[in-house]
Amino acid sequence: MIAIIKYNAGNIHSVQNALDRLEYKSVITDDPVTILSAEKVIFPGVGEASSAMKYLIEKELDKTILSITKPILGICLGLQLMCESSEEGNTKCLGIFDAQVKKFPNTKIVPHMGWNSFSEINGVLFRNINVNDDVYFVHSYFAETCRFTTAICNYIQPFSSAIQRDNFYATQFHPEKSADVGEQILKNFLEL
């Protein structure tokens, strides 16, 4: 069973639909016991960092996430919340990755919205993926590159497109909305 963490962020059902298409059973839950007993956990989300973090703390989901020993995949806001801190609402985040989350300067078109490829990919999430493959992004804040960065994308400047530290995986892009390439990346995670 795959647990999808339920919190005050959108896009959660899209992840479940993607898992259904790949024929993996999943449950959307905020129950710590269910989350901790799942084979894998997905921490998705589109939303605002400070209100999301506040909600996680209120529900003690912050502690739950930090104590997960099975593979967990953060997506989009999920990745950002796994970093040190975010400029969005001056938010202290979970601190799993030693990266700061910053806002793109609005001298260019923001949000970074649409399909973009990589300048670098490493690690198991990117098995059978080419550096020129495109994945779908939509975000106005980005995580700086750090020692745990496994994929880099360039938009205005290089940023962390994917990060991995031990069992904590995360992507800034939306694999559940990235057509066949995204499905391959999700499969790579689900088959860990």
């Binding site: 959108g10 896009n11 059902h13 899209s14 639909n17 993607a18 259904d20 298409r21 589109v46 939303g47 605002e48 609005n106 001298t107 260019k108 078109i109 923001v110 949000p111 970074h112 919205m113 649409g114 399909w115 973009n116 490829s117 495109d134 779908y136 939509v138 975000h139 106005s140 360039n154 938009y155 939306h174 559940e176 909305k177 990235s178 057509a179 066949d180 995204g182 499905e183």
Partner: protein
């Protein structure tokens, strides 16, 4: 490099895909789910579904359709038509829509843009602007292009950005249905004025029209309906053409 998006638009009426000519004269173009799946396979970058009936009793049909689309397709999609309140938005987002498109209701009640942005994030608020060149200026029209407003298109686009809109879907009514090309001038003006993504719509008839709009304006997406529905331009052919003309596109 960020790719330019090719976006087929499916106008939905009573659960079927239709396409009007110049906002009038509706023709049937098929089952929306089948059409949507075909476009995904062909390499469409996003899809837009506009419910052009959107009466209260048909709302349920739309919600069911949105759920089915979300189950079956693996690229982002926008739903629009008859969205008047944050409650309408919540139902569509919870049913799986990635973005919602608002038009007349945003003109009538601009704070709706901010409300949606606060609740669901700017990225899911697409503000559709129907514009027409009359008396030597581009003005905003509402209610399917039937009713003129006092708003100048550029001023409204700036306001949309200020209020928290995540994207602008700009349709030139002069060009829509003509297949004579996108309205380059207003698309260029709007896309250089705002720093949110602009999707050009209305008038696409040839591959060259897409090249023009991507090379001569800052639009990051091009939307079309009939040329895709009736197979006049196949998406893979269009994308290969654009790539050969040095427009960055996603080839699947």
């Amino acid at each position: 490099m960020l790719k330019k998006r090719i976006i087929p638009c499916l106008d939905i009426k009573d659960g079927r895909t239709v396409k009007g000519i110049n906002f009038k004269g509706i023709r049937d173009a098929g089952d929306p789910i089948q059409l949507a799946k075909k476009y995904v396979v062909q390499g469409a970058d996003e899809l837009v579904f506009l419910d052009i009936t959107a009466t209260v009793e048909k709302r349920v049909t739309l919600v069911e359709l949105v759920k089915e689309i979300s189950q079956q397709i693996n690229i982002p999609f926008t739903v629009g038509g008859g969205i008047n309140s944050i409650k309408d938005v919540a139902i569509l987002i919870e049913s799986g829509a990635d973005k919602v498109s608002i038009n007349s209701s945003a003109v009538k009640n601009p704070t709706l843009i901010t409300e949606i942005a606060k609740e669901f994030g700017s990225q899911c608020v697409v503000v559709a602007i129907d514009t027409k060149f009359v008396n030597n200026e581009w003005n905003v029209f509402v209610h399917g292009g039937r009713i003129p407003t006092q708003l100048k298109t550029i001023d409204w686009a700036k306001e949309v950005e200020r209020l928290g809109g995540g994207e602008i879907l700009l349709t030139s009514m002069n060009n829509d249905g003509t297949k004579a090309g996108f309205a380059i001038d207003i698309t260029k003006a709007v896309s250089t004025t705002v720093n949110i993504p602009v999707i050009a719509s209305g008038g696409a008839g040839t591959k060259l029209h897409f090249k023009e709009v991507f090379q001569e304006t800052r639009a990051t997406g091009g939307l079309a309906a009939s040329i895709f529905h009736y197979g006049e331009i196949a998406i893979p052919t269009l994308k290969t053409y654009l790539k050969n003309k040095n427009v960055a596109v996603r080839l699947s």
